[in-house]
Subunit: 190 residues, 2 copies
DNA sequence: CGGTCAAGTGGACGCAGTGTCCACTTAATG
DNA sequence: CATTAAGTGGACACTGCGTCCACTTGACCG
């Protein structure tokens, strides 16, 4: 996007790769898809694939990033309670609800991707982080930096997947739990 | 332990393997240690290693399990606030503090182990889960099942590692943040 | 004690996926 | 067109995984 000129064939191949990867991830489950598979499905050579994406995780994250763009927009400029205007606790709860919806929609993509620690280095994570931090500040919580990660941790794909698949919770129950978490930490006491 | 008889050589090799693995994990970092390395360092054949531990994660979890035993004992029968007797919010905070200490002590072991979802299937996780759930019940929180995982999520090694290494928080700050989390969710309102 | 036999051992083997490398192709520019 | 640097793709060597099976060893029994 900012790169001083991307050749037409390069752009075409990037699109092909992402499209093929999304299809394969959905069909086979992310961990079962090899770099070879993706390259072949995209009609692209091995070297071309590696030129942009050093590993599977990079591709998965690129795809997620794309889907998360819309939500980011809403957080910044949408209507309350997701957007600005509502009290912090309500905004956090709305954010949780939206994220649960997102996780549910892209479960295939995100689950089992075994993102591990690389999850934190995404652009998207930085955005969520800044958002939650600003809510903590708005709620006058002391030392907000010590609460940001604990509040974001329940949104890790592994955690969501475990609650849903192994513990048998519905998306609604999970959202309800997170809402109580938001109220507990940010809610006006008294 | 319950197995109807473990041969002497088997027991000896199990000990060797765990000892070697702990040493290597600490020295090289868990993800850089191959199954081959462990087998060689333990003076044991590849097949022997695989007989018990299907992969690296299994070994790491076995080691953690061992270290977590002591804490489990304290939770059940130790003095308050860790053991029974204190109000739920205080007990949860004490549990958090103890876990942070544990994570810090075994950082080398646990960090970068990329445990992913297998973390949830440990015996230890089941124990923490039951403990936190009982605290939620004791505090008369409705639908405790929806809050257990969110409260345990911040203790994931990845999250702790990120806060400490990338965000530059101290163990004390992290503990303080978790204490506020405990108070927010379980604390007596008013 | 020595014999029996299943549990336990270890390393050779085949395989799958990774990442690199470089000779070739192709889009952009004047 | 000619030039040139970005981009391409597949062959290659390598590393780590997991299995398999012929051999060893410890436990138990007569």
């Amino acid at each position: 996007m900012l790169r001083p000129m991307e050749r037409a064939d390069a752009a075409r191949n990037r699109a092909r790769i992402l499209e093929a990867a999304e299809r394969l991830f959905a069909a086979e489950g992310a961990p079962n898809v090899t770099m070879d598979d993706i390259a072949r499905a995209a009609g692209v050579g091995r070297g071309t694939l590696y030129r942009r994406y050093p590993d599977r995780a990079a591709i998965a994250l690129a795809l997620l990033d794309e889907h998360e763009r819309a939500l980011q927009e809403e957080l910044l400029r949408g209507a309350p309670p997701l957007g600005p205007g509502a009290p912090p606790a309500a905004r956090l709860a709305a954010f949780y609800a939206a994220m649960v919806r997102l996780l549910d929609d892209h479960a295939h993509l995100v689950l089992g991707a075994e993102t591990g620690r690389s999850r934190f280095t995404t652009g998207a994570y930085g955005f969520w982080r800044a958002h939650v931090r600003s809510l903590l500040v708005a709620a006058d919580v002391p030392d907000p930096d010590a609460l940001v990660e604990p509040l974001l941790a329940p949104l890790a794909p592994e955690v969501y997947g475990f609650q849903r698949d192994d513990r048998g919770l519905t998306a609604e129950q999970i959202t309800a739990g997170l809402t109580r978490l938001a109220d507990g930490v940010l809610g006006t006491p008294g």
